[in-house]
């Protein structure tokens, strides 16, 4: 430490020439093949979806303030929770971390200039726009959607609402997700830096890789399912329609064959983000690297074998139900492996309670509760009691919001200075995190209580005995909304007005921090050098650049020049 070095700011510091001003004009964004710009466009897109679906949630919570509320008609209530679920799941959570954060950092973590298929990447984004557009068209055209996000038959065949538009939207969003998955999988396989073996990858890459496997293997099944549902509505083909000999439960099997693995599409990238955050803000080598890496793959594979636990009450055979229950329990093992390794990483680490670390700690707490309550639902006898109650709602919100959204925010705060080259107000960031954490718990913890006391989900009215829990929940929801708004306000303000920072303000060691902030159009101005992503002692402070750089670069003469790409 303390070595004085002279490296140019353009390579490792704050770069005035970067991918933002490499080209200009709206076409340079609309037709960009740059993974960083696509990542930012995705981020804007998914954040818009988050706020839209968040507003739907607040409308729902406001309606539920009193027991026999007449704020919404029951039909409108059905539409509102359906749209909340469908937009949140398909347009926000699934693409959120992989497509926004992953696009931004995955190629850079590999020392690559871009993903393997940049045009496919752009196409994925536009498919997201089209798919979300179709989903929203169901509302704007006045059709609405009242099937729940799961589109269960036979109701989805009979309802007058815009099932075709919504399912077409989900179908297109599925392809968007598949293309991201193919891109990431191939990029990790073929574009790693020379010498960067599988066990020298940051754990975020492992989790994105596991996610890509699920996206590739599960999403096509959703595609054909939705296509059959659309055909069913247009032509009554009778595959799912019992009137013509079809089996509506087959739809449930198909749907959950995708949608249960999709739950892991949502949570695995979040776990990857947390692995990075815990290591960097504890300044300690991640504990149990290979266990965390393989547990991601194990979760991805086990995820394909548990879909039947969504059908415990559908009349499937007892033997099948027992098997699904047993495999469901086994998912707890790799999940717990991760949690214990994170805790062990923090042990005797040099913990810095910066905003990203606050989110990471929130994640561990909330995901812990979300995961453990999943075991109540995986156990057959308790599930019969808890099935379709607010207990289920609270459980998956603890995983999806307490897990994925928290990790997304943590990841954004972590990589924001890298993306924009500017620092946020850390105190306001932590206040936002506190509001999100408190608001979230106030929203969803009472739902465990009322769920276990029998409050069914998806009901527009309820017995007055549950009113106090609903009111806590509603207050919490608004608090959570304020927290999320504050977090994004802090980030957006920082992107434009925050103080400038160098390439590596957090003393992180993975490859993406070896570039300037914001990065160059080609990501690196030098030839990136393979370094250990968790060797924080190798990072030294550079006084001139006011940032951390790898000690190999302490002598500017040793910074390898970039191999100029040949343009044609």
């Amino acid at each position: 430490m303390g070595t004085t070095i002279k490296a140019t700011p353009e390579i490792f510091g704050h770069a005035e020439n970067n991918f933002f001003n490499a080209s200009s004009g709206w076409k340079s964004w609309a037709f960009t093949l740059d993974h960083k710009r696509i990542g930012i466009m995705y981020l804007i897109g998914v954040t818009t979806a988050l706020f839209l679906a968040g507003v739907f949630a607040l409308v729902l919570r406001s309606h539920l303030w009193i027991a026999n509320s007449e704020m919404l008609t029951p039909a409108m209530y059905n539409q509102m929770f359906t749209l909340h679920g469908a937009v949140m799941v398909f347009a926000f959570i699934i693409p959120s971390i992989p497509a926004a954060l992953g696009n931004m950092v995955l190629p850079m973590m590999l020392g690559a200039k871009d993903v393997a298929f940049p045009r496919l990447n752009l196409m994925s984004f536009y498919l997201w726009v089209i798919g979300t557009g179709c989903l929203l068209y169901a509302i704007l055209a006045g059709y609405g959607l009242d099937t729940g996000w799961t589109f269960y038959t036979p109701y989805s065949i009979e309802t007058e609402s815009g099932v075709i538009y919504a399912t077409a939207g989900a179908f297109v969003l599925g392809f968007s997700s598949i293309f991201t998955g193919i891109n990431f999988l191939v990029t990790v396989n073929t574009m790693r830096l020379p010498g960067q073996g599988w066990f020298k990858l940051p754990l975020f890459i492992w989790s994105l890789y596991a996610t890509a496997i699920i996206q590739i293997l599960a999403t096509p099944v959703l595609g054909i399912t939705l296509l059959l549902l659309i055909s069913e509505r247009l032509m009554s083909i009778g595959i799912f329609d019992p009137r013509y000999g079809g089996d509506p439960v087959l739809f449930q099997h198909f749907f959950w064959f995708y949608s249960h693995p999709a739950v892991y599409i949502m949570i695995l990238p979040a776990m990857g983000v947390i692995s990075e955050l815990i290591a960097v803000y504890s300044q300690k080598r991640i504990f149990g690297y290979s266990f965390i890496a393989f547990s991601s793959v194990a979760i991805a594979l086990l995820g394909f074998l548990v879909w039947g636990h969504h059908l415990f009450t559908s009349g499937q055979s007892l033997v099948v139900t027992l098997i699904f229950s047993a495999i469901t329990f086994s998912v707890a093992i790799p999940s717990a492996v991760k949690v214990f390794n994170w805790l062990a990483t923090m042990y005797k680490g040099s913990i810095l309670l910066a905003t990203p670390m606050c989110y990471a700690l929130s994640f561990i707490f909330l995901f812990g509760i979300g995961g453990l309550t999943g075991l109540f639902l995986g156990a057959l006898s308790t599930d019969i009691h808890l099935h379709d109650t607010y207990f289920v709602v609270a459980h998956f919100h603890f995983v999806m919001v307490g897990g994925t959204l928290t990790a997304l925010l943590g990841g954004l705060f972590h990589w924001w200075p890298k993306m924009f080259g500017r620092m946020y107000n850390d105190m306001l960031g932590r206040v936002g995190c506190f509001l999100v954490f408190t608001g979230f718990n106030l929203t969803f913890f009472p739902q465990f209580v009322m769920g276990s006391r029998g409050m069914p989900r998806r009901y527009a009215t309820y017995d007055p005995e549950y009113q106090i829990f609903h009111q806590w929940s509603t207050i919490g929801a608004f608090l959570l909304g304020i927290g999320i708004l504050l977090a994004f306000a802090v980030l957006v303000y920082a992107a434009f007005k925050g103080p400038k920072v160098g390439g590596n303000p957090f003393k992180a060691a993975s490859l993406e921090w070896q570039s300037s902030s914001p990065p160059d159009f080609h990501n690196f101005l030098h030839k990136p050098v393979m370094t250990d992503p968790y060797d924080f002692d190798a990072m030294v402070y550079d006084e001139d650049l006011d940032t951390y750089i790898h000690r190999e670069f302490a002598d500017p003469a040793k910074v390898p020049p970039r191999v100029e790409p040949i343009h044609h």
Binding site: P118, P194, G245, D247, H567
Partner: protein, 357 residues
């Protein structure tokens, strides 16, 4: 994986078609190859839902599949199988000549592949239109009659073909005429390569009519054609059923029938067929489910064939421009792999749908 020394490369190695983010031709080729294989995995899973539906309904209702499959013509299905297998051969030859950088031969074999694809679609159009004529439709609309619908359109009347066939053929007809005019126009205008390309596309569109006319002639010879009585299939149907009833009494098939609550229903059917001969009203319940699955599977497959023709046209165009070299032929390889998968799916569909026994 790129190796360290490949970072340093000369002009020759860093060819014209290497995208800026790849280090070398090998990395680009490997990425594309892995990408297309992974894409094919998603395609297999995309069809898997239909295969599961098929398996489920066949195991629950073997009687439906037993009775319904005879409506499919084995010989037309077999012809299409041969056509697609041959197209896989020509595609493989196209890939081989791309590896050797012989662009003219690539163009030739890709054109043959495209024509085979079009013949396949032509035969499929005959099969579909004949079924629609007779009310052999998806489950909710299944309304079989032994008599073909009488054509109402002018072309249908003049050529004595099904109205549905007229509608289905409209697009290839427009493409044929359009590409012919374009081919002549470009050739006269001095744009030779565009002229050849449009000519090849016209030949491809012609392939559709080759398949359709051939299959129509065969249909006319075997079942009396449009407006006539459709005698052969019902006879085949009941011959088949009697045979099945004699042979399989007490076998698993019969047990299944009785096991799923349709006991009386099935028994009625068998009895009725044995004693009264052909009667379209005596099909087993929900026989249309078979055709729902048939149309979903073959329809989705046909869309993939059409997608394949478009991809092959892109390869053809680049072959005519002479872009393939021994160190750059990836796209031919990738489209070839896709084409083999589309063929392979048909190799499964043919026995599953046409050859049930």
């Amino acid at each position: 994986m790129a190796t360290a020394d490949t970072q340093v490369h000369d002009e020759h190695e860093h060819g014209e078609f290497i995208a800026h983010h790849f280090d070398n031709a090998e990395q680009q080729y490997d990425s594309g190859k892995l990408g297309i294989w992974v894409f094919l995995v998603t395609e297999v899973l995309f069809f898997s839902g239909l295969f599961v539906a098929y398996t489920l309904y066949r195991s629950h209702h073997p009687e439906i599949f037993d009775q319904a499959h005879v409506f499919l013509d084995k010989w037309l299905g077999g012809l299409n199988t041969v056509v697609l297998l041959f197209s896989s051969l020509t595609m493989a030859l196209g890939v081989r000549y791309a590896q050797l950088g012989k662009n003219k031969l690539v163009a030739f074999f890709v054109l043959i592949t495209m024509v085979c694809a079009a013949v396949f679609i032509g035969v499929k159009a005959i099969e579909y239109s004949h079924k629609w004529d007779q009310g052999i439709l998806v489950s909710s609309a299944f309304n079989y009659t032994t008599v073909h619908a009488v054509p109402a359109t002018a072309i249908g009347k003049a050529l004595h073909i099904s109205d549905y066939l007229v509608y289905l053929s409209a697009v290839p007809a427009i493409l044929l005429i359009g590409f012919l005019i374009a081919a002549v126009g470009f050739t006269v205008g001095g744009k030779k390569i565009l002229g050849i390309f449009c000519g090849c596309m016209a030949i491809t569109a012609g392939g559709y009519f080759l398949g359709a006319v051939g299959a129509q002639v065969y249909m006319n010879a075997t079942d009396g054609g449009v407006g006539g009585s459709h005698a052969s299939q019902p006879i085949l149907l009941y011959a088949q059923e009697d045979h099945a009833a004699d042979d399989q009494a007490g076998t698993e098939h019969a047990v299944d029938d009785h096991g799923d609550g349709n006991e009386e229903h099935s028994a009625d059917d068998h009895g009725a067929q044995a004693s009264h001969g052909p009667d379209p009203t005596k099909f087993v319940r929900d026989i249309g489910i078979f055709f729902s699955i048939y149309y979903c599977m073959t329809g989705l497959h046909a869309f993939h064939i059409i997608g394949g023709i478009i991809a092959l046209a892109w390869i053809l165009w680049r072959s005519l421009l002479g872009q393939w070299r021994s160190d750059y032929f990836g796209p031919v390889d990738y489209v070839g792999l896709y084409w083999h998968l589309v063929d392979l799916i048909w190799i499964f569909l043919f026995p599953m749908l046409y050859l049930i026994d």
